[in-house]
């Protein structure tokens, strides 16, 4: 009997080259692909939005977002993705669709998106300046504060964008992009960031 190995390859696995890119010196932009996560689309059954919200509150201790926001729970992030729906993002294996299914049974329909997206973390002094080349959204800190989220597009590609908690005094943006578009958008991001100097990396862990 043949031996099969089931290697997991993220959408950027073959493309991402860790290390410096673009202008040399202090990098203005840091790009990190997060590779190990569960992402579940949670959509309220008809007329069950409040039940879904209560379930989320009971299980995660936070209210499900009702406006474009990302809400952090202790081991998951709930990201608004449309009216009466949100993404449940967690470290791989933490809140898989199998684990969530009984929790939301009756109140919401679940759809696994863990393999349907690439997750890219954008930070650094020039993160906002660089993203202005890709996003039509006003990312000024007064407008797009910590936890702000948007279902938007970059380079004609649908993305979910939200601002995470600042890290080392620096703003952190998160991008969920469709897996089959990821390599294409990645190249656009690199082209846009190269003039500021880039540090490229990947991580198994959610930030």
């Amino acid at each position: 009997m043949a031996d099969f190995s089931w290697d997991v390859r993220s959408p950027l696995d073959r493309t991402l080259v860790a290390g410096p890119y673009g202008v040399q010196g202090d990098a203005g932009v840091a790009l990190t692909e997060i590779r190990n996560f569960d992402l579940v689309q949670v959509m309220a059954r008809r007329g069950k939005a409040s039940e879904m919200a209560q379930t989320a509150q009971a299980r995660f201790g936070v209210a499900a977002p009702e406006t474009p926001k990302a809400v952090g729970a202790s081991d998951a992030t709930l990201i608004w993705s449309g009216p009466d729906q949100f993404f449940m993002l967690s470290k791989g294996g933490k809140h898989s669709i199998e684990a969530l299914a009984p929790v939301f049974a009756g109140s919401a329909s679940l759809s696994d998106q863990s393999h349907a997206r690439a997750l890219i973390n954008v930070s650094g002094e020039k993160a906002r300046t660089m993203l202005a080349k890709l996003s039509s959204i006003d990312l000024h800190p007064d407008v797009f504060g910590v936890g702000a989220a948007a279902a938007t597009s970059m380079d004609h590609t649908s993305v979910t964008l939200w601002r995470g908690t600042d890290r080392n005094g620096q703003v952190v943006f998160n991008l969920l992009v469709f897996a089959t578009f990821a390599q294409s958008l990645w190249h656009t991001i690199l082209d846009s960031a190269a003039e500021y100097g880039v540090t490229i990396g990947h991580s198994e862990d959610l930030a």
């Binding site: 290697d7 007329g47 759809s111 998106q113 006003d138 407008v143 089959t180 190249h187």
Partner: protein, 993 residues
Amino acid sequence: MRGDQANRLNNGGLIDRSAPLNFRFDGKTFSGFRGDTLASALVANGVKLVGRSFKYHRPRGILTAGSEEPNALVELRSGARREANTKATTAELYEGLEAASQNRWPSLNFDVMSVNQLFAPIFVAGFYYKTFMWPAKFWEAIYEPAIRRAAGLGRAAQVPDPDHYEKAWAHCDVVIAGSGPAGLAAALAAGRSGARVILCEEDFVLGGRLLADGGTIDGLPAAEWVARTLAELLAMPDVRIMTRTTLFGVYDGGTYGAIERVNDHLPTPPEHQVRQRLWRIVAKRSIVAAGSIERPIVFAGNDTPGVMMASAMRNYINRYAAVPARRIALFTNNEDGWRTAETAIAAGLQVAAVIDARPDVSPAHRSLASKGGFPVLHGSVAGVDGGKAGVRKISVSLTGGARAEVEADGLAVSGGWNPAVGLTSYHRGRPKWRDDIAAFVPDGAPPGMVAAGAANGAFGLGACLREGFEAGAAAARDAGRSGSTGSMPIADDAAFSLTPLWHVAGKGKAFVDQQHDVTASDVELAQREGFESVEHLKRYTTLGMATDQGKTSNVAGLAIMAAVTGKSIPETGTTIYRPPYVPVAIGAFAGHHRDENFHATRLTPSHHWAAEQGAIFVDTGLWKRAQWYPRAGEKDWLESVTREVKAVRSGVGFCDVSTLGKIDVHGRDAGTFLDRVYINAFSSLAVGKARYGLMLREDGIVYDDGTTSRLAEDHYFLTTTTAKAGLVMQHLEFCRQVLFPELDVQLTSVSDQWAQFSIAGPKTRDLLKEIVDPAEDLSNEGFPFMGAREVKLRGGLKARLFRISFSGEMAFEISVPARYGEAMARNLMIAGKPFGVTPYGTEALGVMRIEKGHVAGPELNGTTTAADLGLGKMMSTKKDFIGRVMAGREALVAPDRQVVVGIKPTDKARRLRSGAHIIPKGETPGPDNDQGYVTSVCFSPVVDQWIGLGLVERGRERIGEIVRAHDPLRGEDYDVELCNSVFYDPDGGRQRG
């Protein structure tokens, strides 16, 4: 010509004398300084002749010092970076700059085409409509190429631009166009209020007219005030100052277009940097402080090199310390023009005379004249004596009729000022006429926009500061910012008196539009020939249609038209203003989206594996799909594809079909929902089963097809075609949200979640047994045709298995989460090795579906009904569904419709081609006898000849009939037989076995 900057003043100017720069113009080397434009450096080097005119090839010099320049256009840079029609007046000088004059041959100094001037009578307005009408066929072959060679301006590079461009967004409370006194004051007030401000300045230095005209603001010399203001603005974190940036357009919803010339001032952009960046600025308010443009007076010889706008002359002398002429005459009809005389005297130059068209001159200026020892002549310039070497003598017609002559090597002209009303007029605004300044000023503006300062017709320095400051404060307030604006900068207003004068009648060509060689007599001719409306005048004469868009010529043109028609200028009106305010490179609009980045690219989960196998990829929509996998020794694609088909039909093969759209349909009413969107029923589908579905548009025409599986009572997994994946998702969301909001249905695209492979061929089950957990029953009983369920793979990974077949073979589709897609391809190769597994691409997929008579994109082409496709029986009569009623329309059920049928050439050796028309035997090809066409073709290894599908009138009733395939595109005509569309295994035994 001297190359030693002999016309540079020893002191003054905003140039850095410690930073000399070498440059070449028409092959000759010159030097200038950092801070120069190409034009100012040419002036400093005594170069007066810089180009040849558009039609007549007349020698031309530099007229202005800004982006309104009609004459001093050059080809900048060389090779692939050569940029035609670049204004020398805005091109920043850099070390090694190369520029060439345009529209001359063999040289600027000796231009053979200047012979055109002798034929001037035939080059009048509309000459190409009149002169080159007969014979008609000569136009394309002879006239047009000849005219294009003789006229026109610079040459395009003809090769791809090696530089990069990009687009970016910016957001603010207030965007300000222009950094003259009004713009700076506006930025100060808005910035101090706490507003987010973007200040766009076209130039590379802030200050606008202050740079040339100075003045005193808040008791400080203008330069010091600008420096202090700039420092204050730079200290504000939310004020962004963008130099080399032109705000060129205003669009809906407070969006503005701006072009930033990021690296045009360098020979090549630094690595990783773009040449230009196109900005879309979203602003709550905008202030147009774009200033005004000094206008010429039209007189004979007004295009002689050395004739220059009076304000431009001050720019060259004061800002660049470059002297355009040693002995200057000034022709003005207003007070402001006199500043040039003052500047000339201050710079130690001679003033030959001031010709003032006004009845009176102020006592101050009279005393200036007597101190300077030059005459003040009341009258106007009637002609200029000179040539390519420049102005020599000016003839003046004095008030009262006498004539005078003035010897000078430069003539400064001021006809007054035109506010830059472009931006305020871009939403179909029409500026209004103000008699006191004899100029058009903005009359309203697009929402959120106001004009301030000279752009609003306020020409005094004090007024500019006041209007700008007030506009800035108001804009910030409107945007909800309430900080203190502090004190307003104060300056005196100079008097402005003007007597309108547009055109001085005289002998010789008097140019209105210098860039397009439109003369005053062309305007008069247009009127005589009935082209009186300004829009007709514009098109007939091409006045204002050049790259400068008539910035110096439009108002003079319509003033002359007003004079000859006896109307007032406001009655004559203006043409419509349209963006962009300055030319913007197409490259900037394309930005990142060129070459391989023209659009986003989607890759399948097994893409990198397929690339390793040497797959040839084809673009299908945004996707790259493996088209076939060539092997060593195969001579062409057909050989590879035929091998792949045979391997599948005799053994086993697999193909990545992840590009199909995949949608999770959840909810209690999911079945009901699908019943309404498909023509056939899905609520009756058992859990664990798949069914082929067909979807119609509202008008009854087929929209899409695909299989849908029921994975649980309240969960269906729907697939769409690759092409319609996004559209079907939109359509279903519309149905869910708008048509059937009462249903409990949730939709999620899972196209990217699953890697899906079709595994086909008689040995499919053998292969699967290797990879699927032995506990799973894959027998015909345990997993029958159209079965669908989750299975465990060896090693524990879960997959979804669907027993569906597109190839007509025994086949399964298997799905795993996408990150396992590449591993799945590798493992299928391992598992199938004993059975000779063959990966196949989209071509083999296509061959097998045509052999099987399955319809696809070419048949689901937006014109066909379910019955046309042979699927009419699928239409349920027991339920309602989208498209049902309209599908019953007379024409859609007509018996003579073109329907899908098989087609094969009678000559087995002949290649069938898509697009060939079907004509009955013995009939003449033509629309009356056209009975349909060939939609899909392939070489069928099974039938061993080219076969195809077609849409043919009553096709299914005509099986066995021989008809003609007529292909005028390829010049072919041959006999084909109409046959059953299922060429292979018509009873379907193979896929069920």
